[in-house]
Amino acid sequence: MATEAIDFWTDTVRATAQRLNEAEDGLRERREGALQRFQANGFPGRKDEEWRYTPLKKLANGPCHQLLPGSTRIPVQADLPIEAVARVVLVNGEFQEQLSDFSSLPAGIKVASLASLRKQDSGAIVDFLSSSFPQQNHPFESLSDAMLDDGIWIDVTPECRDEVATIHILHAFDGSRGAGSAHVTGTIRCAPGTRLRVIEEVRSEGEVLGNIRWGVALGEDATIDRVRVIRPGCDTIFHGTRVVQQAGSRFHDLMVCSGSNLVRNEILTIHSGPRCHVELLGIYTARGIEVVDNHTTIEHAAEDCTSREIYRGVLSQKGRGIFTGMIHVHPDAQRIDAKQSNDTILLSRDAEMNSRPRLEIYADDVKCTHGATVGELDEEALFYLRSRGIQLDEARRMLVRAFASEVISGLDPEELREFIVAELEQSIPEGGECAP
């Protein structure tokens, strides 16, 4: 799909890469390779299996190729009910020192902006980036690589083995003064035996592409609990995570998304040592012509590993959901226990779900289950609630809440859980159908 529209993008990418390369930060090769890949391939179309149902045409032809200015100051109010030891704010991909707060951060955790580190110690950054982000043909990865500039670096050192710190990361993409895109690269490295909790929040205003990617390295027996909330009103968000897990490590992720135009959530996790566990949970809504696309790959490359995956969506009006879930069990990765499910409630005849479980199993002593359900709200349950005096709208809300609660029942604190459920509920129109 190397169409004319792509030229706008390529021009921006080339100019940006050239500007950044002047810094001689050791990333020239990476940027130029990515520029070439993007120039050759652009954004994928419907013929690309990995992107078959993801509508990127509007983005490719639209005005978001411009870079969003990093200097804008949109009001950033903290309304998520959470307590964190540190707050990291990125506006249009640029780290905001004044809005961030590291004052309570334990000494064992290092948090820094990628831009500042590139100036100080580019060698270490280059090494870590090479191991975290293989250079591959992927439209959003290529954009991130070609314009690699700022982002966030989190290092959990062996010093804080006995603490569980919570870090709040807020991405704000402000297109209110003109459409554009911003590209953020984040990295997390957890030393053996450490634990980290990350609550990541994404907001946008106006026509934007928010392009976020994370590279995560989990040492032996380390744990990350991550909650991501794509707040209502976002435009186009790409969020990609690549995790490499060492023996006995655990990666828990919950993705919440409601009321946003197009969200692509990609997770790849590699179990490179035995006894790893990964838990990927997602709850989302789509109404109007919103699209939520969850694309997960679990590489069970070592033995005795487990995975649990549940994505649930509530689709109304012409909302669309896409789920692609690959579970790859490598030869000799014996005694794997993998469970995957993808459940969808369609509140309208025009809503659509494309669910694609993919299992490739090359070991023989393996437990792998997967299931996909697509249906309407349970009429029997609705009647049962109504026969007890509960009005139709409230009965529907209760059933949607019940559907979501099975995904987020483990989320603490309760205030955050309630906040999230309320936001999900608000993004479901009454009646569910399109306006006549």
Partner: protein, 261 residues
């Protein structure tokens, strides 16, 4: 005649009901006064459950003809939730399980919906727990059950007791028990019946829909009606149920509709 009608809580006249084009009720008449217990008996396929569900407001049932007056209202004009708010309660033959909603939350939501409808103040979780404790004893269920999801993984007996618990909490004017005895062993049956009896009151009517007489050993009806092919073919006092037990439906000249077809 007219003043007598005014005392009626429920007045069903010439009710014709069909499901998917098949006529199930074919001209049913039934009058129920506050304080009375009525038993509706009949073989499989006679229309017992249809009657219960039509009164509760299930939408798949098509009312083709007839009227239903309830407490001065045209019942057929009301939605299922409005009926519940007006004091109608049906204990389900097959209570629905709803994973993800706790029994306590469900019950409190139902109670508060009804209270809002009646312009009464809502009950907060603490007062609610206080209030429900006494009702729990009535039906002999474990308080822990309140924290479990509605009917999810409940045994047959627990489900039926949960129905009676809901009845006790929602305090209806007209309670309809749809085959509440089915699937219960004799001990559970006794507990359920005791729960129902304790809710027997002068301002409340109870309609017991059942295939067998055994529930009526515990809940003694004022009136017994035998339903066949969508009509009430015999009415009498509690001795009619005993006669039925002795001679069976065929002895009364009533066929099992499903056995016939």
């Amino acid at each position: 005649m007219n003043h007598k009608k005014e005392q009626l809580l429920l007045d069903v006249q010439d009710l014709h009901v069909s499901v998917d084009g098949t006529e199930i009720l074919r001209g049913l008449n039934l009058q129920v006064k506050a304080g009375e217990i009525h038993a509706i008996m009949g073989p499989n396929g006679s229309g017992k459950s249809t009657l219960a569900n039509v009164l509760a407001g299930r939408e798949e049932y098509q009312v083709d003809r007839g009227t239903v007056r309830y407490n001065g209202l045209d019942l057929l004009e009301l939605s299922a939730d409005e009926r519940a708010c007006e004091g109608i309660f049906m204990a389900f033959q097959y209570p629905v399980s709803i994973p993800g909603i706790s029994t306590a939350y469900f019950l409190r939501s139902a109670l508060n919906s009804i209270r809002r409808y009646r312009d009464e103040s809502e009950v907060d979780p603490i007062d609610f727990l206080e209030m429900i404790r006494s009702k729990i004893e009535l039906v002999g269920i474990d308080e822990k059950l309140l924290q479990r999801a509605v009917n999810d993984g409940f045994s047959g007996g627990e489900k039926k007791r949960n129905e009676i618990l809901q009845m006790a909490v929602l305090d209806p004017k007209l309670a309809i028990l749809d085959e509440t005895d089915s699937g219960l062993d004799i001990d559970a049956l006794r507990i359920v019946a005791e729960g129902v009896n304790s809710l027997h009151a002068d301002d409340r009517a109870i309609i017991v829909v059942t295939h067998y007489q055994r529930l009526l050993d515990h809940i003694v009806p004022d009136h017994v009606h035998v339903l066949s092919e969508g009509k009430i073919v015999r009415s009498g006092d509690k001795t009619l149920a005993q006669e039925l037990e002795r001679v069976g439906y065929t002895g009364l000249g009533v066929d099992d509709a499903r056995a016939r077809t």
